[in-house]
């Protein structure tokens, strides 16, 4: 049986590390922090791997079905006998998969950062934040309770905020971190309300109970389905709102605007958070609630699917036009997460119908590996070139051979070239789309082609194209390779990018917990692969040498190109909404009203009192006879008043 103690250690080790580094490490052993963080994460990773092994191959499966195992559960806040926020650990295929991914990628990033962040004054703080993030992410994926996931959701968000804003002296980094936090916060509002809606009708916050109550016929399901608001059932609302939270974290349209900016953070952070782990939280969330989506509310699932495919395509198009390599990768991430999303959206629940779900999870798995690799590779490049812009690069293949090779492997993986990891997962997704929605399938194939194109555009621009000209004398013109701590993760990840596709995923992670056999249709696979190859070739012709072709191409579709280059003006739209509408039309008037009307009212009372006081001062004229007259008039007034009027 699983031992809860060491399962609990998986998330606890990072938080303990965070506390140690944060409270004492920063001051007393800053240099050692990296090692400490890495070691603790190594242990965490080994434990995860061990748990995964135990779960998948020893204890997880009962009668052919992977069970949801609650390894730990503490009541955190008991609102009523039914409703409670628990803190616990839930093991099921997806959470186990996730802890492995999170700890592994995090470990890689920790190792990598020892080289990348070397010499950084806030080196220890960096590791503290990384640990905090890892803890939050692990807490998120292990949640037993929808509120627990929300709590860690927010913690992940704040870790992301801290890491994006790590270079806090750069205004752009601060702005990006703010943007990331606020946009996701806005989405989280939906999540929160969604939780409230779901929990109100199901009278629970516990995942298992929630899913059980909202998927089986009964009072709970009836009440939530029958309650309607603006024409949609409360269930739809609840799920869509929860999905909104997921969309925020996963940078789905329309909440995607924060992700490209988030690249202001240190590159390893981008690899960890904004490529491999945190951004897939949305996918994870939908997967977590997948039974409800799938069984009780297909409408909400459709929303997921369309949002996913739209975001995916949108991101792919924008990615083709960007020149900042990290931004390209960011859009690529968004696009790939879109894949995962719509894969879920088109998926069924049981057995083979659930191939979309499986494909999504599979893609999540493979994507995290090769996208981390891409980011780390990009990091190595940036580390050397000291620029993010691909225009400053070119011809680096000779200077950084290992980086070059790993990057190439990752590009092939993401482009879906067999036999690299991406090919297999993408294949399952396309299959699922083909089976359920041809429209999405078409868009997905197109996106896949675009993916191959822009990835290789990136690749050629970095490593081929013009010769690299160093801007700085200190650069060793012949040896640009990063230190060993950075290369090691690259190599490990590259190897995994090659082999990860062969994991028999459909036997391990499925929607209903029952494994199934996927068939491999060579005929079905050939189309997308050929498209990808064609896209790569196109990219090769356009970018392998410095040429005017791309410029000409861009000019022919100028309007569209410009729009895409400017990310379809989403930032501007948001800026318009926040600055002009929220700030100018709500905030400013609110502040004005407060100062003028409410405060003014209080001041008015005071000044009215004052002026009344001023206006009646003439009664006190200082003349005795006036006093006597008032006296006498008062007397008469009293007489008349009390004899005739007020008796």
């Amino acid at each position: 049986m699983l031992n809860s103690t060491y399962i609990a250690l998986i998330p606890l080790l990072p938080i303990i590390t965070f506390l140690i580094i944060g409270l004492v490490g920063r001051r007393y052993f800053p240099k050692f922090s990296g090692v400490l963080g890495t070691l603790s994460l190594l242990v965490s990773f080994l434990l995860s791997a061990f748990v995964a092994y135990q779960y998948f191959f020893e204890v997880g499966k009962v009668e052919g079905v992977y069970q949801k195992i609650i390894a730990l559960k503490y009541v955190w806040l008991q609102f009523s006998p039914n409703v409670a926020i628990d803190m616990g650990i839930l093991l099921d295929p997806i959470s186990v998969m996730m802890i492995v991914i999170v700890t592994f990628i995090s470990l890689m990033v920790h190792i990598y950062s020892m080289g990348y962040m070397n010499g950084e004054p806030r080196y220890a703080t960096y590791y503290a934040f990384l640990s905090l993030f890892t803890f939050s992410m692990l807490g998120l994926v292990l949640s037993t309770n929808i509120f627990q996931i929300y709590i860690f959701w927010e913690l992940v968000g704040v870790s992301s905020f801290l890491l994006i804003g790590f270079y806090y002296e750069k205004p752009s980094a601060v702005a990006a971190s703010k943007k990331a936090f606020i946009v996701t916060r806005f989405a989280d509002l939906g999540f929160l309300i969604g939780i409230l809606v779901l929990s109100y009708y199901s009278e629970t916050l516990d995942f298992q109970t929630l899913i059980q109550r909202l998927t089986t016929e009964g009072n709970y399901l009836t009440s939530i389905v029958s309650a309607s608001f603006l024409g949609f059932s409360a269930l739809t609302w609840g799920l869509v709102l929860v999905f909104a939270g997921g969309a925020g974290k996963s940078a789905m349209f329309p909440f995607h605007i924060w992700l490209p900016d988030a690249m202001e953070g240190p590159t390893p952070v981008s690899a960890l958070i904004h490529a491999a782990t945190m951004v897939v939280a949305g996918v994870y969330l939908v997967a977590r609630l997948f039974p409800i989506f799938s069984n009780s509310c297909p409408g909400a699932l459709e929303v997921v699917a369309y949002i996913g495919i739209f975001s995916s395509l949108l991101a792919a198009i924008i990615a083709c036009t960007q020149t900042d390599i990290k931004r390209v990768l960011a859009y690529s991430t968004m696009s790939q997460i879109g894949f995962m999303m719509f894969a879920l959206g088109v998926s069924g629940f049981y057995a083979e119908e659930g191939v979309g779900f499986m494909g999504s999870m599979f893609h999540l798995f493979t994507h995290s590996i090769f996208k981390a690799l891409l980011f780390l590779g990009a990091g190595a490049v940036i580390h050397y070139v000291h620029s993010n812009d691909m225009k400053d690069m070119g011809g680096l293949r000779k200077l950084m051979p290992i980086t070059h090779l790993t990057f190439l492997l990752a590009c092939l993986a993401i482009a879906g070239i067999p036999p690299f990891a991406g090919f297999f997962s993408k294949e399952e997704i396309l299959l699922a789309c083909w089976n359920s929605n041809k429209l999405i399938f078409g868009a997905a194939v197109l996106t896949a082609g675009l993916t191959a194109f822009y990835m290789f555009r990136l690749y050629f621009n970095i490593f081929w194209n013009k010769e690299y000209k160093s801007h700085s004398e200190s650069h060793d013109a012949h040896h640009g390779e990063a230190p060993g701590t950075m290369l090691l993760p690259l190599i490990i990840l590259a190897i995994l990018s090659v082999v990860a596709g062969f994991v028999p995923f459909s036997h391990l992670v499925t929607a209903d917990g029952i494994g199934f056999e996927t068939e491999f249709h060579i005929g079905f696979a050939i189309g997308p692969v050929l498209l990808a190859v064609a896209a790569i070739l196109l990219a090769y012709f356009m970018y392998v040498k410095e040429s005017l072709v791309p410029q000409k191409f861009a000019d022919t579709v100028k309007g569209f190109y410009t729009a895409a280059y400017h990310k379809f003006y989403f930032d501007e739209m948001y800026l318009f909404i926040t600055k002009k509408i929220v700030f100018n039309l709500i905030g400013r008037p609110a502040a004005w009203i407060d100062k003028t009307i409410f405060d003014g009212f209080m001041n008015l009372i005071a000044s009215v009192t004052e002026s009344v006081s001023e206006s009646i001062k003439s009664f006190q004229s200082g003349k005795v006879q006036d006093y006597a007259i008032y006296f006498f008039a008062g007397t008469l007034g009293f007489v008349l008043l009390f004899i005739y009027l007020w008796t």
């Binding site: 004052e610 001062k617 005795v624 006597a628 007489v639 009390f642």
Partner: protein, 468 residues
């Protein structure tokens, strides 16, 4: 004549004795030094205050013209006590004055008048007491002989008080005409409530309202307070006012209460006007005596609020409040008196930066003002609370609301003074003042009272046990 006579009239007799002692000493002309005079007087007043603790009894003398009981003795003791404090505080001012014994003869005569007024059994005694309590006061108001303001105050006071007592007298005469008696014990039964009697009643009430400075009969107050010497002002605002209220409680209450509804309405109107107008005027004063005059007008409104309850709680609360009021107002006037006598400054703006030079005096003034504003933990809070509670016991919440809302305004102007003392910058604040021991003693007594009387519920309980 028997021992009863001495017991029942003990306060009056001791006071008369003191007056004569002072008169004889003056005529003997052996005491040249003002300080000696003051010490002698203070000692005599202390003895006089002690007389209040001699056993007392319920009873009537002179065929009902004079009556006395425990509550009346208590009231007189309160007045004696206040007078003692005023006398202590007057030290710095009187030290250089030419007419110290005369001052006390006049002052004590008015006190005697108040005593007779409080103990009066019929309108004649009441009227006599009232006049004795006001005519010498006008002379006292003129006691800053070199100051024009002082004379003006005296003129305003004597003319208006004569006018008001005339109107009151006319009312009394009509009451006499319609009932045939002047005795307070017989009158209530004979009052039926015809128009003539209402007219008479209003005339009498107006006389009261004048003395109590209730709006619109208050106009003399500010001018007289401002012009009179500080000691006289404090005497006017505290002792004179308290005496009038005591008269009302002990003597006239039953008479007016016969008019039930109308009487309440009259009070209602007076309370609303008095508190509001008093506050409105107080807001914009700069002379601190004038400021306190208006504040005391507003306080009079609260006193009326207590009286309006028309029950035991109202009576007890009013007496209690007056006790507290004596402490707090005399605390304030004590400081003002010291400043006026030593620094010759009487404006609020002069008090700017006062805290820098005179820490203790500032605190005394501040605490007194807080007590007047009804801020805990000072006794003023309890006093005012009980008054408002009593007012509410009648069930008329409109009145309570108006009275309570006015507390905000009153807080404003008290805080204005506090602000001047503590906050406002001033290049030339009042210099460090060296008050006499006796003035300080007076302030200490006031402070002890202000701080402790609120917590000592036994005082209220004692008052409550005496009232009916």
């Amino acid at each position: 004549m028997n021992t009863d006579f001495f017991i029942l009239m003990k306060s009056e007799l001791s006071l008369t004795l003191i007056i004569f002692i002072l008169l004889i000493l003056k005529v003997w002309d052996g005491i040249k030094d003002n300080s000696t005079w003051l010490h002698i007087t203070n000692f005599l007043l202390l003895l006089n205050f002690a007389v209040g603790f001699i056993s007392s009894a319920d009873g009537m003398l002179f065929n009902g013209m004079f009556h006395s009981n425990n509550i009346l003795v208590l009231e007189k003791s309160i007045l004696n006590f206040g007078t003692l404090i005023i006398s202590l505080q007057a030290f710095d001012w009187l030290k250089s004055h030419k007419h110290v014994p005369e001052f006390f003869i006049l002052l004590l005569t008015t006190l005697l008048g108040m005593f007779f007024m409080i103990s009066s059994g019929n309108f004649l005694m009441f009227y006599l007491g009232l006049e004795i309590a006001s005519i010498p006061l006008a002379a006292l108001a003129n006691f800053d002989l070199g100051k024009l303001k002082s004379s003006e105050a005296a003129v305003k006071m004597i003319l208006l008080s004569a006018f008001s007592s005339c109107i009151m007298l006319f009312g009394i005469s009509l009451l006499y005409g319609s009932t045939g008696t002047l005795s307070f014990s017989e009158l209530p039964g004979l009052i039926g409530g015809g128009h003539l009697q209402i007219l008479a009643l209003i005339f009498v009430f107006v006389g009261f309202a004048f003395k109590l400075s209730s709006v619109p009969f208050h106009l003399w107050t500010a001018d007289v307070y401002e012009g009179s010497p500080v000691s006289v002002t404090s005497y006017l605002s505290v002792i004179s006012k308290a005496a009038i209220v005591f008269v009302f409680i002990s003597v006239l209450g039953p008479l007016f209460l016969n008019f039930q509804g109308m009487w309440y309405n009259m009070l209602f109107l007076s309370i609303v006007l008095t508190i509001t107008v008093g506050n409105l005027f107080a807001i914009r004063q700069d002379n601190i005596k004038r400021f306190l005059a208006f504040s005391s007008i507003a306080q009079a409104g609260y006193i009326l609020l207590g009286l309006s309850a028309g029950n035991q709680m109202g009576t007890s609360s009013t007496i209690y409040f007056l006790l507290v009021y004596i402490f707090s107002n005399l605390g304030a006037f004590g400081v003002i008196g010291i400043v006026s006598a030593l620094a010759k400054k009487e404006n609020i703006s002069d008090y700017k930066g006062f805290y820098k030079t005179n820490k203790l005096l500032s605190w005394v003034l501040t605490i007194s003002l807080f007590s007047l504003a009804g801020i805990p933990p000072t006794a003023g809070f309890f006093g005012k609370m009980f008054l408002v509670t009593a007012g509410a016991s009648h069930g008329n919440y409109i009145l309570v609301i108006i009275a309570s809302l006015n507390m905000i305004v009153s807080l404003y102007y008290y805080l204005r003074v506090v602000k001047a003392i503590f906050v406002d910058p001033n290049d030339a604040p009042i210099e460090k003042l060296n008050a006499s021991f006796s003035a300080k003693l007076g302030l200490i007594i006031c402070m002890v009272g202000v701080v402790l009387v609120g917590f000592a519920s036994c005082i209220y309980d004692y008052i409550n046990s005496l009232t009916i």
